[in-house]
C-alpha cells in the first residue's frame, strides 16, 4: 500500500471550441501511463479530442471555510455579470 500508484485528475475537451472539463480521476505510475489510462478509461466512447492529466497532489484548491473572502471580490464586481449592462432590445440577442 505504501507504493500505491499516485492519483491523477483527468480533464477532457470534448469538442473543438470548448474548454477542458474535469471528468474524473485514475491511478497511474507516471504521466505517460496516466495519459494512456485516461484515454482507455475516459474516452471509451470517443468523447475526447484533447486530454489533460495532472497529479492530484499538484492541484491547489481553495478552502471552503474561507469561502466568504475568496468569493466576495468577484461577487462585488457587478460589471463582471452580463446583466449589469442594460442593452436595448433593438440591439438584438447578445
Amino acid at each position: 500500500m505504501a507504493n500505491e500508484w499516485p492519483l491523477w485528475e483527468v480533464f477532457i475537451r470534448g469538442q473543438h471550441g470548448m474548454s477542458h472539463r474535469h471528468v474524473g480521476s485514475l491511478h497511474a505510475p507516471d504521466e505517460k501511463m496516466a495519459m494512456n489510462n485516461a484515454r482507455d478509461v475516459y474516452t471509451r466512447r470517443n468523447e475526447g479530442v484533447s486530454i489533460w492529466v495532472v497529479q492530484a497532489k499538484d492541484i491547489t484548491a481553495s478552502d471552503p471555510s474561507e469561502k466568504g473572502p475568496m468569493y466576495e471580490p468577484s461577487e462585488s464586481k457587478v460589471y463582471r455579470h452580463p446583466t449589469f449592462y442594460d442593452i436595448p432590445d433593438e440591439a438584438g440577442p447578445m
Binding site: 491511478h27 505510475p29 505517460k32 501511463m33 484515454r39 482507455d40 471509451r44
Partner: protein
Amino acid sequence: MITHSNQTADSRHLLEFVLRQGDNALVLGHRMSEWCGTGPALEEDIALANTALDLIGQTQMWLAYAAELEGRDRSANDLAFMRDATDFRNLLLLEQPNRDFGHTMMRQFLFDAYQVPFLQALESSADQRVADIAAKSGREARYHLERSSDIVIALGDGTEESHRRMQDALDRLWSYAGEMFVTDETDIAMHNAAIAPDLKLIHAQWNDTVQARLNKATLAVPDSTFVHKGGKNGVRHEEHLGHMLATMQVLQRSYPNSVW
C-alpha cells in the same frame, strides 16, 4: 513499399491471406478477452478489454471479407465458430496462453511491432477492401504498440522481479516471432499482386522497433534463430488452439443453426 501491377491475384491466395489476418485478430482478441476482470489494476483491466474489443472488431471485418471471397454462403460467425483448428490460419505466437501479464504484454508487443508497419503498407493495397480494413485497424494498432511498448519498457526496467519475468517472457516467445516473416507462396502471390508488402521489408522495420525498445527495457534479445512454424499455413498448430476453440465454439457447436 507495395508496387502496383495489373496482375490479378489468384483468389485462393487472397482468401488464404484474408483468413490469416482475421484469424490473427480473432485468436489474439480472444486471449486478451480472457483477462477481463482479473487485470493487475483496474486501469489495466479496462485497457486490456479495449485492445480485445479492437481486435474483435478487426476480426469481424476480415472474416466478413473472407466469407465473401469464399462464396459458400457462410458468415464471419460461421468462420469463427464452425471451423476446426486445422482450418485456422493464425500465427502460433498468438495462440500462446496468457501465462502472466508479462507474457501477455510481450506477445502483444512483438505482434504490434509487426502489425503497425504491415497494416501501414496494406493501406496502399491494390485490393481496396484490404486497404480500407487496414486503414481502420492501423490506427488501433499504433495505439496498441504505444501501450505495449510502454509496459514492456517499464516492466523490463522496473524491479528485479519484473525484469526477470519480462526476460523469461521474451525468451519463451522469441522463437515464435519469426513465423510472422516466413514467406510462403501466398505471401509471394500477394506481393506480386501488390496486395501486400514484401515481408522482408516489414521484418527490417520490426527489427528496428523491437531492438530499440527492448534496449530501453534493458532486456537481452535471445540469440536463437530457431523459428516455430505451422500456424499461418495451418499445418501444425499447438495444443493451445484446440482448447481455445473448444471454449469459444461450444454454443454454436452444441446448438447448431440457432439464432443468438
